[in-house]
Amino acid sequence: MNAISTSSKAVEVRNVFKNYGEVEALQDLSLDFPRGELTSLLGPSGCGKTTLLKIIAGLLPADSGEVMVNGETVTGPGPDRAFVFQDFALLPWASVIRNVAFGLELRGVGKSEREAIAEKYIADVGLDGFELKFPHQLSGGMRQRVGLARALSVDAQVLLMDEPFSAVDEQTRRKFQEDLLNLVKHENKTFLFVTHSIEEAVYVSDQIALLLPRPSRVSEIIRPSGFRDKGIDSIRRDSEYLDIVDRIWDSLRTYVE
């Protein structure tokens, strides 16, 4: 590894501006994402959190400012980032294994090699035995596991997750959140996680960037410290967890119609 990629910041956003016509989506936004940690972008709807994520992904150009991933300026999508979509973005005509291997297919990896890799990640996300099923035969939660396996299989250092659990039911969601904590612990990757759920953000994050709208800016960065090592089961009863949830709600309530 070279010096740049061992620096403590995986992603740096510097003075980014983005307008949609007359509407100011992002104004002079700067933010750092520490390596190996999960950072949530939390805020009311319309605060530009998905816009920011898509700019980092290289799917949207910023009007001005700079985004750097591992010290290199982002000009488009790259192999160092993988995206998990809110609506899963699976190919309806392709089996689970082809969907999971699709990222590798687009990178030109040979069929037998990419299917071997895909099979490993299908097993990792708990979809063993579903390789030949089609997306419409799966539940919402299982579809997002396919989306997650696809993002993991390309082995990017940065995972961009756009409200990945918002389209699945509450119970599946809780299971996903627990699995995500394990993933952050065991995979040496940086996670950028967009959510509108305060509890979810506090539960899974090492760092929470609170965005406020019109125009979007980072109003606060919160780093929960006390409860992360106490074990998954006691997080929701921890007093620091509850305090942070309350504090965030106090900041956000005036922005919710």
Partner: protein, 253 residues
């Protein structure tokens, strides 16, 4: 279930042909033969071989026209669907083509291309192409934004995104366009034989009418409908085989 659809098909055929027979016997018009008379005439045409030599003539402009329409229609449709500028530039031509009164344009075609095969192929294309182009471009344009973004974020090239995401996603609707286009092509082929020069099946129709042999005229009309239905059924089978019913469920519903 399969038996039920089969018996429904037989029942509806019996009802329609029965109504035809009754209407012919009433008779609705002097020029309207019964179903059985028409079938007898069809039998005679088949035995004599007239119908086969006629179809060799009729199928020429039909096959050539449909193949040109499918090839260029899908190609243009994909291009229109991908490019806003090209859409703005080309789409109106096909919208006008689709709604233009074709019979009124035929004299113009004859003036430019004569009375040969070229004019007939043109008529088939004018009938078949617009619906193929418009269906294809609509299907391409309506590809889900999120799977295209997915392709981009996983580093798909423009070509890969078109071939591996947009085309498979659009293909069911493209097939619908092809089916509609081919049935319009059948109409075009017969129309060209009635309006340009009487050859093939069009010749049987106009000749039988001129000598008041109405059963033969209706036999010829019946045979072309039969052929079109058979062909469209085969195409539907092919379609089902290709897609194996997997496109029935949308992923994000």
């Amino acid at each position: 279930m399969r038996n039920r659809t089969l018996s429904l098909k037989i029942l509806s055929s019996v009802l329609i042909f029965g109504a035809w027979e009754v209407a012919g016997r009433v008779p609705v018009s002097f020029a309207f033969p019964t179903f059985l008379e028409s079938m007898a005439a069809l039998w005679t045409l088949t035995i004599e071989g007239t119908i086969f030599t006629a179809y060799v003539e009729t199928l020429k402009p039909l096959v050539v026209g449909v193949m040109i329409s499918a090839f260029f229609g899908i190609g243009l449709g994909v291009w229109i669907g991908l490019s806003r500028k090209f859409d703005w530039f080309v789409s109106p031509i096909f919208i006008v083509m689709q709604s233009a009164p074709l019979a009124a344009l035929i004299p113009l075609l004859i003036m430019v291309y004569g009375i040969g095969l070229t004019s007939k192929v043109f008529v088939v294309c004018i009938m078949a192409m617009p619906v193929i182009v418009l269906n294809t471009s609509g299907a391409v344009r309506n590809t889900s934004v999120s799977i295209i973004e997915m392709g981009k974020s996983f580093l798909g090239t423009r070509r890969e995104i078109i071939m591996k995401i947009i085309m498979p996603s659009a293909s069911p609707i493209i097939f619908v366009g092809l089916r509609l286009g081919i049935s319009a092509g059948f109409i075009g082929a017969i129309l060209s034989e009635l309006k340009i020069t009487p050859t093939g099946v069009g010749d049987i129709i106009s000749y039988s009418r001129s000598i008041a042999d109405y059963p033969s005229m209706y036999a010829a009309i019946f045979s072309i409908i039969l052929l079109a239905v058979l062909f469209l059924n085969i195409l539907e089978r092919v379609e089902v085989m290709i897609f194996k019913g997997i496109n029935k469920g949308l992923v994000s519903d």
